[in-house]
């Protein structure tokens, strides 16, 4: 709290400087410069005043309206309501799954692993973390992965930190694999016209290649911790008590919940085929399916419907996203991002390799410090601005996705999954992880995965 005034002055100074710089040096008009200055307030607001980010988004949007930088009609259009509704629907489905014990059931399956060894545990944690992150979302999946890891580490009396870090690293990588893993996935899919199939064919394999590379790295990095776990497993003689620690009665309601979730995933995975079959606009089924499922859930669980909507939907975050998207849209509306796109092309040329490399690395480094949704929202209108300059956009979208997800591994505050996992660890075990204890392993993983993604984007024609 002591640094609040300094941070506030810094925020105003940087934003004003950016506004003036873009007006006088880049030749942007007043409205364009104002939209850049206000959007930078929102970005810096998340960096300096995380708990006030929604206030900054509210005030910034009000200023944009009052200064006629954008009108109401366009503000609503740019707010990306389709993405917000998709996330609302998915959060209600996740609320039901939690309520019926699906996540606890996954935890119990991990605890019941037979013939447990350090290697088996690490492989399971890595693979389950990655796959669950891409099937539900990174924040939901990390909570129950941390729960399982803490129970196992408590039982075998070993330091849980390496396993928590491994799970978070895998979660961030897995979150790039599908449109469901991370809010930036659905945001990019919606803006770029990419389908679930595109993600499965182009993002999923990249995430899996990166995951394999990371498994090899962590096997070496944390080898001493794994030896210690193996030793304790031998001393304590397996996980007999853990096997019967918790149970989740597989009731009819859990089966129905799994059926709803399975059907939702199935239809989402087939959405493009169904849209072609029914002659619907691209991504209609993808965006609508969570609404259909959550609508059904609210009829089935009519007494809990309000609870799902009020408690399981992260309204604070979604409102911030909504206004952030609207502010980023203002950059496009005023033409500021078109000017920026031209300037970037002027610097890098229209070579897609250089452009995708630049976007990949800037988004990776940026998302190591900022919320990746903020960063991606800022990049989207710039990438859209390249379209008028005859640039192939597809590799740029993938670069943005991989940079935004993999960059989250670099620092301790790089993604919400990191913050949530380490928050639980600090609360439960009073273990506070220093910036640099995370940084070296995070940076190594971030560099390796981003380099791999870069190589794939440059050398494999598939992504062009």
């Amino acid at each position: 709290m002591r640094n609040l005034p300094i941070k506030f002055v810094l925020l105003i100074l940087i934003s004003t400087a950016l506004g003036f710089f873009s007006h006088f040096n880049l030749g942007l008009n007043t409205h364009q410069a104002l939209s850049i200055a206000i959007f930078s307030v929102s970005i810096l607001g998340t960096l300096f005043f995380w708990s006030f980010r929604l206030s900054f988004a509210f005030l910034g949007t009000a200023i944009l309206m009052m200064t006629k930088t954008i009108d109401l009609e366009h503000l609503v259009r740019f707010a990306s309501l389709e993405v917000i509704l998709f996330l609302v629907g998915m959060m209600i489905i996740i609320g039901l799954l939690k309520d019926e014990g699906f996540f606890a059931w996954i935890v119990s399956l991990i605890l019941r692993m037979r013939n447990l060894s350090a290697k088996k545990f690490v492989l399971s944690v890595t693979i389950i973390s990655a796959l669950l992150a891409c099937a539900v979302d990174e924040v939901t999946s990390i909570i129950f992965m941390v729960a399982a890891i803490l129970e196992i580490c408590d039982y075998f009396e070993v330091d849980p930190l390496p396993y928590i870090i491994i799970s978070v690293l895998a979660t961030n990588i897995g979150s790039a694999a599908t449109v469901l893993g991370n809010p930036i996935g659905i945001l990019i899919a919606s803006k770029a016209g990419l389908t679930f199939e595109d993600f499965i064919l182009k993002a999923f394999p990249v995430a899996m290649v990166c995951l394999v590379a990371v498994i090899f790295l962590i096997m070496f990095w944390y080898r001493k911790s794994f030896k210690k776990l193996d030793l304790h497993i031998k001393e304590l003689g397996g996980n007999d008590i853990l096997i019967k620690l918790i149970s989740v009665p597989v009731e009819k309601k859990l089966k129905i919940s799994l059926l709803i979730f399975g059907l939702t995933l199935l239809i989402i995975s087939l959405h493009h085929r169904l849209e072609l079959l029914w002659n619907l606009e691209l991504n209609t089924v993808l965006l609508v399916m969570p609404l259909v499922s959550s609508g059904g859930i609210m009829i089935w669980k009519k007494h809990k419907a309000r609870e799902y909507v009020e408690q399981d939907v992260e309204w604070w975050t979604l409102l911030f996203f909504l206004l952030l998207f609207a502010q980023a849209g203002t950059l496009k509306y005023t033409g500021a991002t078109d000017v920026l796109a031209q300037k970037i092309i002027g610097l890098t040329g229209s070579n897609p390799h250089i452009l995708s490399g630049a976007i990949l690395w800037i988004s990776a480094i940026g998302s190591s410090l900022l919320d990746n949704v903020v960063l991606v929202a800022a990049f989207i209108p710039i990438i859209q601005g390249f379209q008028a300059l005859q640039v192939n956009l597809e590799p740029l979208w993938w670069a943005l996705l991989f940079g935004g997800c993999f960059g989250g591994n670099i620092t301790v505050v790089g993604s919400t999954a990191n913050i949530v996992a380490l928050g639980i660890l600090e609360k439960e075990k009073k273990i506070h992880i220093s910036f640099f204890r995370w940084f070296w392993v995070g940076l190594t993983v971030g560099l390796i995965t981003t380099c791999l993604a870069w190589a794939i984007l440059v050398f494999l024609p598939f992504h062009r």
């Binding site: 799954l97 939690k98 019926e100 935890v107 909570i143 941390v146 803490l150 408590d154 439960e428």
Partner: protein
């Protein structure tokens, strides 16, 4: 009727530096579920309750994981129970305490207790020092008494 007319003035309180296990023994002896924690300057700094002890003992993430049944006691619980003997009251207590003033009306206290889900509420005097405590039972008894009269 004002709350100062019915509040319990003879308050047993705990010190923030007291051992948490000793403090829990006080709760057991008094057959009460919680007590206020007061510092050297007689200022209220928190509430030490059985609920806060349970919060410290059980893993916090379990609520987020969803529905399940414990068939065995986790090892972490045993460790935390043992750890309680090494903890101070200030590490366990709830710092955010709902309080009322001496001149607060009876119905307002009932209103505060109901909306804030407080089982008992410390009463503060003009110097913001604790001068009494009221429980839901005290408030109910006083309301019934007033209406009978």
């Amino acid at each position: 009727m004002k709350i100062k007319e019915i509040m319990v003035k003879d308050i047993t309180s705990l010190s923030p530096e007291m051992n948490a296990l000793d403090a829990w023994n006080v709760l057991q002896k008094m057959k009460i579920s919680g007590l206020p924690v007061i510092d050297d300057e007689n200022k209220l700094v928190g509430m030490f309750t059985e609920k806060e002890i349970l919060v410290k003992i059980l893993p916090s993430y379990m609520e987020a994981v969803g529905k399940f049944v414990y068939d065995e006691n986790p090892k972490a619980v045993k460790q935390r129970v043992l750890l309680l003997a090494k903890m101070r009251v200030r590490e366990v207590m709830r710092e955010n305490v709902i309080t009322v003033n001496e001149d607060t009306a009876l119905c307002e206290v009932a209103h505060v207790m109901l909306t804030q889900k407080a089982r008992r509420t410390p009463v503060l005097n003009e110097k913001q020092e604790i001068s009494g405590i009221v429980s839901r039972g005290d408030v109910l008894k006083a309301l019934f008494k007033e209406y009978k009269e």
